[in-house]
């Protein structure tokens, strides 16, 4: 959608607003689950009302299992009950009676796929101007906005991501027009009437930040700061100074009055909100790392970091994830040095790799994107297992979103977010056959009644089609 996005932007006489391919980028940061005063006020607001749907006791046998943490089990068995994973193992695994048994001989099982970078809902389809809700591009500093307040649950993209991509959790970020884009929200990929009913229970918030071309293009084009990279850094640092000051007052005798922007920023400084930083170039990634040290916060993940490979050693040492595409390149100047071996070179250096989509199409085949990145790495002689590549789209994003204790791998006690594939998910010929979220089967390729259809598509040509 590279050109479609660009043309639409040009036609609207506006600069890149969004997500779709041309200039989309976002980042997040992550944090621990500690709670601070600002975080507790955030926790009261807009609470998750998500409840798992009805589930059976399910046993899948005979499958090749990629557990999400780099292990492969042949002829594997997985048992799910009450929405949780109970046991995972080889053929010797005890199979409980009173369970539905699915023979998955020749098929594959993975954890539910997780996309750390999506704009579903805030840049939904149909992508008409009335739906363009991803960038509050009226000021370069908007940590006060929350992506969840833009998410349209009826975006048909959610159901495509489920049925074609096996996506069970995803992070929706604000766009990258702003230095501080606002709060990101993590969702379970369940159809719902309200966003609150999709919110991942207990997931920490993310905050989107951006460096590079987008903010300076959007605001420089209006003769506003930032019009340069140095302008961006200065404005970002000035904002952190304000946040530090606010935080000091919060802890003093006379707490300041509530300020949504400062609540988000102090949430980052307190380690409760995870920073997801859209940033492409190696030199800029390094600038951001130094800025985070200056103000005492941590960047959880650099998003769209197409040049991470140039500083893979530094990113490994700093323990910052790179959330990246397999092979996007050349759509703008800061994406000119992107190479398809980025993921593999990071893995080789011991750095954290997450394959993301930032795209309503590629979120439907993140497994294929991971597979391409794997193949390009192997072609240059880097040894990476299939199971490790699956980790790039399961456990690693879960970790960077602060939900790895709940989902992202097939470990007993975790949410039963599971995909049964009709072939090796690293093959172009594979598709999800069944998808469970918290043990509830929400997609079944063999059952038209288990294919969600959003309100928008009801009564339209193609309603309920295989898509």
């Amino acid at each position: 959608m590279e050109w479609k996005g660009l043309l639409a932007v040009v036609a609207a006489g506006a600069l890149v607003t969004g997500c779709a391919a041309t200039a989309a980028e976002t980042e997040t940061a992550s944090a621990s689950s500690a709670s601070s005063s600002s975080e507790s006020s955030a926790k009261i607001a807009f609470p998750s009302t998500y409840k798992a749907y009805a589930s059976d006791n399910i046993v899948i046998t005979g499958a090749t299992i990629f557990d999400g943490e780099g292990q492969r089990i042949d002829n594997g068995v997985i048992f799910m009950s009450a929405g949780k994973i109970v046991s995972v193992g080889g053929p010797e695994t005890v199979i409980p009676t009173d369970s539905t048994i699915i023979d998955a001989t020749g098929k594959y099982v993975t954890p539910g796929i997780i996309d750390i970078h999506s704009h579903l809902g805030d840049y939904p389809t149909p992508s008409v101007a009335a739906h363009s809700d991803g960038n509050e591009a009226t000021s370069p500093v908007t940590p006060e906005v929350w992506a969840e307040h833009s998410v349209w649950p009826q975006d048909p993209g959610f159901s495509r991501a489920l049925a074609n991509g096996g996506i069970t959790s995803l992070q929706i970020l604000p766009g990258s027009a702003n230095l501080f884009g606002g709060r990101a929200v993590t969702l379970k990929n369940v159809p719902a009437r309200t966003v609150q009913a999709m919110k991942f229970p207990g997931a920490p918030y993310g905050m989107k930040m951006a460096c590079g071309e987008n903010p300076k293009r959007v605001y420089g084009g209006r003769n506003r700061k930032p019009s340069t990279r140095m302008g961006s850094l200065s404005l970002t640092r000035q904002t952190w100074i304000k946040a530090q000051d606010y935080r000091k007052k919060q802890r003093g005798a006379k707490p300041p009055k509530r300020d949504l922007a400062m609540e988000t920023l102090t949430g980052v400084l307190d380690g409760d909100i995870l920073v997801h930083n859209h940033c492409y170039r190696a030199d800029e990634l390094n600038q951001i790392i130094d800025m985070s040290k200056e103000f005492g916060y941590k960047v959880t993940a650099f998003h769209h970091a197409v040049e991470s490979y140039k500083i893979a050693d530094i990113l490994a040492k700093e323990e910052i994830c790179s959330a990246i595409w397999a092979d996007w390149w050349g759509f703008k100047m800061e994406a000119y040095d992107a190479i398809p071996e980025n993921a593999a070179l990071l893995q080789q250096a011991g750095a954290c790799v997450v394959i993301h989509s930032d795209d309503e199409n590629q979120i439907q085949r993140l497994n294929q994107e991971a597979s391409k990145a794997l193949a390009d790495g192997r072609a240059m002689g880097i040894e990476i297992s299939d199971a490790q590549a699956i980790q790039w789209i399961t456990y690693n994003p879960a970790k960077a979103m602060g939900i790895a204790d709940k989902t992202g791998s097939l470990k007993p006690g975790k949410m039963a977010d599971v995909v049964l594939w009709n072939d090796n998910p690293l093959s172009v010929y594979a598709r999800p056959e069944k998808v469970w979220i918290d043990g509830a089967m929400l997609y079944d390729a063999n059952d038209p009644a288990r294919r969600p259809v959003s309100d928008f598509e009801l009564g339209q040509p193609g309603e309920g089609d295989v898509k």
Binding site: I311, D327, D465
Partner: protein
């Protein structure tokens, strides 16, 4: 500088001898002709003087041939990108490097991409290394529904990328046409008819041509469209827009129409088939990106194919200047649909044809390009395995019978940063 000089000399030498079209025999591989027939094990492909001499299992290897052992490998025609902007763009958002559209030009139909296609653009080398050897290159549109002349190009590492200049005219008649024409489909259709009629006026007496609507150059460019001497590639997505395009032949019976995009083509597949209008369709569109795409589905191509439509894969507005290497993945996904209940995909053989012989045939070049039948141009790729599979790599690429360098700046960057830590000298000295 010494190294640079060497490179310049050697590349000049290469340019000077495009007829380095040696005789090559590629033996032992799994051979795919590309015409929709099944792959053949242990086949041989012979190319000589820039053309395919023979491909199959009972092929005699000429005595003077350079032999390449392709045992365990796959040998196919080069990938033919059915709709692209390759060579028109270096960096998408850097306007000075982007020749897809001319927003401030007074011309429209007369714009001709043959002067803009840059065979030395980085995307050409990157996609060549991925196995893409030919492409349809289309202009976009700006101030008119017409974009100009498109071309068929090769992705070879030489000075001349043009296989066929002025191969077609491009027009927008869907939602983009609505906006280019002033804000409605009615405006787009009257503009289309009025411009073609003006072209007829021009033909009657070029020296007296004086039109409020268009430049003489644009009128002249539309004449071969009216006469059916060149194809008219029409971008439309919705079922209704497709039907209205098929109806154009009531007024202009000689139009040689090709539909581009056609996300809702499956809904009017019988009508498209009956009209014998081929389609360069987007393979994996399955969302209502706009109201013209409401019923988009990945089964679109498969369903059109079953209805008898002549269809190939194109990539309009889908990273079509940089990522033609997605063609194989897209074709593979259409094969994957065969295992999804109620979905309609393509067989493997059909899917490969949709990125090789079919686009060539649809563009009227089937006797020259797109397959390994004898006499076709020697565009051949050797792969490590199934070319549609994600794990497969390209081993060798021939274009016009000339073995190509697979080097490109992505590969150079990769090698420089194989170990990211600088050595005794900065990275800038690692070459």
């Amino acid at each position: 500088m010494k190294h640079l000089a060497t490179i310049l000399v050697s590349s000049l030498a290469l340019m000077a001898s495009p007829a380095a079209a040696e005789t090559v025999a590629i033996t032992g591989g799994k051979v795919v002709i590309g015409d929709g027939s099944a792959p053949m094990d242990a086949g041989t492909v012979v190319i000589s003087n820039g053309r395919v001499v023979a491909a199959g299992t009972n092929v005699t290897v000429p005595a003077n041939a350079r032999r390449i052992d392709a045992s365990g490998k796959w040998v196919t025609p080069g990938i033919f990108a059915g709709f692209s902007r390759i060579g028109l763009v270096e960096v998408g958002a850097v306007r000075s490097t982007n020749d897809t559209r001319a927003a401030d030009s007074v011309f429209s139909a007369a714009l001709d991409v043959q002067y803009a296609v840059n065979p030395f653009a980085a995307p050409v080398a990157v996609n060549r290394a991925a196995g893409v050897t030919r492409a349809v290159v289309s202009p976009g549109t700006s101030n008119s529904i017409f974009g100009g002349y498109g071309a068929i190009v090769d992705l070879g590492n030489d000075n001349d990328p043009i296989t066929k200049a002025r191969a077609f005219q491009f027009v927008e008649l869907g939602e983009t046409g609505h906006s280019r024409a002033g804000g409605s489909r009615a405006a787009a259709h009257i503009l289309f008819r009025a411009m073609l009629n003006e072209a007829r006026t021009y033909a009657r007496n070029p020296s007296l041509f004086d039109s409020d609507l268009m430049k003489a150059s644009d009128a002249k460019a539309l004449l071969p469209v009216i006469n059916g001497n060149i194809r008219l590639l029409v971008h439309v997505e919705s079922a209704n827009d497709i039907l209205k395009v098929l109806d154009l032949r009531k007024d202009f019976p000689s139009l040689k129409l090709v539909l581009v995009g056609a996300n809702e083509g499956w809904r009017v597949a019988n009508e498209i088939a009956a009209a014998k209008v081929p389609v360069l369709a987007s393979a994996l569109s399955d969302l209502p990106y706009s109201f013209e795409d409401l019923s988009a589905t990945q089964s679109n191509i498969g369903r059109m194919k079953r209805a008898g439509v002549n269809v190939a894969i194109g990539m309009i507005n889908d990273r079509d200047a940089h990522q033609l290497r997605y063609s194989m993945q897209y074709a593979g996904n259409l094969v994957a649909l065969n295992k999804v209940p109620r979905a309609t995909g393509l067989s493997w053989d059909e899917a490969f044809a949709a990125i090789s012989s079919k686009p060539a045939e649809i563009m009227g070049m089937g006797s020259q390009l797109g397959s390994l039948k004898a006499g076709r141009k020697g565009d051949v790729v050797i792969w490590t395995g199934d070319p549609l599979e994600l794990s497969t790599q390209v081993e060798s690429v021939f274009i016009d019978g000339v073995e190509q360098s697979l080097s490109n700046r992505q590969e150079r960057l990769r090698e420089r940063y194989r170990n990211p830590t600088p050595g005794a000298l900065p990275k800038a000295y690692d070459r």
